[in-house]
Symmetry: C2
Amino acid sequence: MARKATTIVLKFGGSSVANSECIERISKIAIRESKEHNVIVVTSAMGKTTNQLIDLANQVCPGCDGRELDMLLATGELVSISLAAMAIQKLGHPAVSLTGWQAGFVTESSHNKARIAEIKCDRINKHLELGEIVVVAGFQGITEDGEVTTLGRGGSDTSAVALASAFKADRCDIYTDVKGVYTTDPRVVKEATKLDHISFEEMIELASLGAKVLHPRSVELAKKYNIDLRVRSSFKPENKGTEVISLQRMKDMELTKAVTGVALDTKQAKIAIISVADRPGIASKVFGELGKNKINVDMIIQSVPRDGINDIAFTVPREDMETAKAVCEEILKDIEGSKVEADDGIAKVSIVGAGMLNRPGVASTLFETLSQAGINIQMISTSEIKISCLIDEADATKAVQVIHDAFELEKSSEPIIV
Amino acid sequence: MARKATTIVLKFGGSSVANSECIERISKIAIRESKEHNVIVVTSAMGKTTNQLIDLANQVCPGCDGRELDMLLATGELVSISLAAMAIQKLGHPAVSLTGWQAGFVTESSHNKARIAEIKCDRINKHLELGEIVVVAGFQGITEDGEVTTLGRGGSDTSAVALASAFKADRCDIYTDVKGVYTTDPRVVKEATKLDHISFEEMIELASLGAKVLHPRSVELAKKYNIDLRVRSSFKPENKGTEVISLQRMKDMELTKAVTGVALDTKQAKIAIISVADRPGIASKVFGELGKNKINVDMIIQSVPRDGINDIAFTVPREDMETAKAVCEEILKDIEGSKVEADDGIAKVSIVGAGMLNRPGVASTLFETLSQAGINIQMISTSEIKISCLIDEADATKAVQVIHDAFELEKSSEPIIV
């Protein structure tokens, strides 16, 4: 078997390699693709392995991170790659597994969320020349000093896209346990429809908003290198899945829509600082202190000042709510505020669509839809292709449902003109 | 913290790192020793991890071995070293974990039972200079070509002894879940006594005979480099354990005994080839064919020829019995034999003692003891410091008990003169 003219990267997530049956299934996919292409497979750790390893670490040393946590977490993918290589061999095709360092993943030296500095392609090339399917451990690399690093959340997707770029792959298929990217979470709205196409930009917004199929970091990277990225199901490989393509191509294909999907995020909490002084430096003080405490702030609203005082409200990850509240209370005197309120009973519902900008009326349709359903909007934030509303968590499911209906997303495999 | 004048190696087996509580326990042992010495810790995989990984491999690819199995099995130790390093750090002492390749273990390129070619000491030295406890993954290494290898059965003990030699360690403590080396298996004979001292030679024989505390390969290595080797319990670290020392030192200390221990091996089967021709080349044909099939033969008996024909009997690992029988049946015509018999209902009971050679009567005491207990001896083999008898498996426990009694091994912490 010799090297083919084209190369593709296939990434299989934890649920696609959860047991021996799953591993056999993905091995067949890899072998089928190898008839036409050189195949580089990237796997995540099996099933819930990474979480189990984190639990173990917390038993031994609660809150430990850094170098040793990377050493521990990197083992998960080593198990799945060797099993996948064995399974492929058993089905009669030559295969080899490579750890992050063997595969040439050089990262910067920060632990737990290192960025890839370089992929040294020699060793993978050597195995591709031999006609072998190369199974690479996702999520990990090595520093110039020989220290094992991991890439953080979404690391395996990022590994796959980085390989697709380094090997000028024709395609990067991200296999998961769902058939593709949906107009919204099918568990919330049963009419949710799989999208055949989505732009990188929309995918980044949806991914950031909690659609778990792809990590925004990997989509950013795919956009940067213009990788042909597909989201597919390893359980239904015959399905074409969702193709993530450039916005220009979406436009050329007349596929851009006002609203592509609805996303729901119930993992945030709201903090409000009441009656702070309306003078320069207040916002930078507040968000500076939160930043020092490594708290990511998402939505921010500063109300119109009234009588020289202001309210500032923002959202943070729910697990950081208490810390964020304490941080704000500590600086309350400095910023001349009266009190800090925290609320974890909120949800953020968002619509995303690359065609939003050119179609007026999308925002008002959204607000009217929520209003007619009796749902109060607490905060609003917008970007070029996204509108997010903060609402009561109790209304979350209903909100997604009425929005999905209002924009007729159940017909979403056809382009919709609002 | 700076480097100390002396270095010791502490090896912890699977049961000593089975959970977070165990890992904390061994971390305290390492920290205590680090007050006086530079400490290199070697760990096995946690509990039954290696067996679980083998089960996984067999689910995916029954009987797979070679490179990918090594990739898989090497992960077990990576989990335990990172957890141990975290636990030591949590207790306030600097520590670092190193994989086999990071620790400089270079092996020959055969997989699944590679031998160590070299330990490159630079990286461990660098960490010892910093006053860190260095936690090294046992059982594994890397070839010159960057392939991960494992050392096979007893690999972690071998890693520890090799490190003790490379770093000229004052001591190599092998921590396990028993207090040391016993005169026989305490589960079989309740009067079994822990030995304070044993010679390398006796330990090798006992280890080969199935005393599971130390692998013979590691004892061979310790003997070769004259390492001060101790077997201790991580659950009772205050206990001094058993010191494995040179035969000369045993003699100098007047500690050599006619019988040091009794070992029982119930994992063998007997094959007998009946009535083969009594001519040159028969034995080499039989054992040559078995060797080609990678079957290890232990005891061999060829009876005194009678009327130009012979019987050949030997023992093999029980799991290889059917294969061995088939191999023999295949060559039965060539060697002019009449039939092949196989029996897996046998056991091998052995006595070991460095003082055996100089004390006549040991063998006859053994045979008489068995005879008086009504136990029939099917085969006998002897070495300088060992006598083994093959008996019916049903008599195994009784045999060990009566032999232990006959040689008064319950008094064994004192020297015995037969």
